[in-house]
Symmetry: C2
Subunit: 345 residues, 2 copies
């Protein structure tokens, strides 16, 4: 489904928030990129585009990775670059075929640091069952990058079992998540050591292929929409869905899996866990009659033990995400505004 | 054809030369990336990889662009990013289908600077007949990038008329170039204003699609190998060919088209024009019986008026490029060593 440009990009200067995946990113993408690059295959806010015609049916994705620090508990930029691209393909309903990577390296970077990241990429690619088939390397002067940046490109073929799209979402559909949210974002924040906080937390970076495989096997007919809620968290992903589908979404706040460490860090820092980036969680909308099967399937996947049914599609209020508590309270969950956690991926 | 890792990457730190497309880049790619990412589709030094199987036949390319300054006579980073990727597909024998772009933006970049580059990309994509179907945007702190870097990803389908590869090159084959060399590199160097030199020179950035189309129409059976001689110039591209093909290459030095301004700047600066980057020239190896047809076809393309037959494949000395002058002198033309022109693309 195409989005008409409702917003204009008039910002005088680029700010960190333009890369945060929230409202400023939306303004940049919908107000500048979409109108200028207008063409039928142009992907809207999700990162995968479908090429279909002349004997070729393929999904393409592109992602830049600028995470700081390069290594953090549970992962590193190289692992993230592979998993993030694999996951963009997966949630678009594509089976990953091949990846390429473009490196922008800072002069002076120790050779061993680069070697460790190429090894991490190779290992992540093996785990996800995809090959890194080529790439490019550029070097910029010392000081003009932060060690290294990696852009990854993914090519996938359509998974014939899945038919996905915001337009397929209907009132009554259920919202599922594969596990606890916010681990990645809070891990990165703590790894920077700027805060006087410690927690036993690791990034959730991983390929979503096993989750998608489980859903496709157990409930393919009922899977309407999937997303990898990275920058901007599940709040931004669900707000985009609410807008694209012209629907309302209600979240059952207490049902959302959340580690105590993430909850605690968010409380101290005044952050909403719904806005925190994940790098290994699947968000899916499933038809009500298959939601229980889908949930069981997710829970059987290693790492999916805490999968949960966390919300429902409603016909009103349209284009809005509400979080309801057990005691009847509710609050509007908006997209991320600003950038509380820059360079998270 | 796969290259076996003959070199090891032991460099303690990354240097500008690792991104220059010459010997240090070869050490990085063959000594680090190839052994770690080993898989059957992995592209060797050229940037295009072929995916073939399970009903999909496609070429993929990835390039990062870090050119400084962002705008220069004849082009800009956005135009370069599109043309460079289109050209990597073309010379691999693929018809470009779609592009994606990942932007790494420096906080503080004026919005108008970004807008101008997205417009330049859109225009270059229209000219090349390809769509930009999506992308990603990240922002890093002010000072940690140089305005913007762009990584571009290209997808192509095989051109059924062409069968290319270093393994197809035979002694007696002719080397053609589509026009004067070195315009891009010297334009960038002068645009930086560090040198007290001026010249009426423009980058040659352009899509090579019309050249490849002309060759495919006039001499498809005879076209053995093509390359877009960017970083490292025609010297590095031909040295790679000589190594991959296990052949010798002789260049007829006086036949190589070269503008007086480029020759003059190279003489003053002590640079070899054969090492200077091009962004709109096609280098092709063609069977001797079709070389004249191929040359006529290139010359009929606007911008190809100065196309020339500049060399020949020999059976010895293997893995060597020699430049011969009319008076019988000859010199070994090596790959680029070091990086006399950093951040040229």
């Amino acid at each position: 489904m195409r989005l008409m440009p409702e917003v204009r990009f008039r910002d005088a200067r680029l700010e960190m928030a333009h890369g945060a995946g929230g409202k400023a990113t939306r303004r940049l993408v919908e107000g500048l990129f979409l109108p200028l690059l207008d063409n039928p295959a142009l992907a809207p806010l999700s990162d995968a585009a479908w090429i279909d015609g002349d004997g070729m049916a393929a999904a393409m994705t592109a992602d830049a990775f600028v995470v700081r620090p390069l290594r953090f508990p549970g992962g590193s930029i190289g692992e993230l670059a592979v998993n993030g691209t694999v996951n963009d393909l997966c949630v678009a309903g594509a089976q990953p075929v091949a990846l390429m990577a473009a490196f922008i390296l800072e002069a002076g970077l120790p050779g061993d640091v680069l070697r460790a990241e190429v090894e991490a990429m190779a290992q992540a690619a093996r785990r996800a069952g995809v090959a890194v088939v080529g790439g490019d390397t550029k070097v910029v002067e010392h000081g003009l990058a932060d060690g290294m940046y990696i852009a990854t490109f993914g090519l996938g073929r359509p998974d014939p079992r899945l038919r996905l799209g915001a337009a397929r979402v209907r009132p009554g559909d259920r919202v599922l998540v594969s596990g606890p949210i916010g681990d990645h974002g809070i891990t990165i924040l703590l790894a920077r050591g700027d805060l006087d906080l410690e927690a036993d937390l690791r990034s959730d970076t991983r390929p979503l292929t096993p989750f998608v495989e489980a859903l496709a096997a157990a409930a393919a007919q009922g899977v309407r929409w999937m997303r990898d809620p990275t920058r901007g968290g599940i709040a931004s992903a669900l707000n985009e869905l609410a807008r694209e589908a012209g629907a309302g979404i209600v979240l059952f706040e207490e049902e959302i899996p959340l580690r105590g460490e993430v909850r605690g860090a968010c409380e101290i820092l005044g952050l909403d866990p719904l806005h925190i980036a994940n790098e290994g969680q699947l968000l899916a909308v499933v038809a009500p009659e298959l939601a229980a099967d889908a949930l069981r399937a997710l829970r059987r996947v290693p790492g999916g033990e805490q999968a949960a049914l966390i919300g429902e599609i409603r016909d009103a209020p349209v284009r809005t995400v509400l979080a309801e508590t057990r005691y009847g309270g509710s609050r509007v969950v908006d997209m991320l505004v600003g950038d509380p956690l820059p360079r998270i991926c």
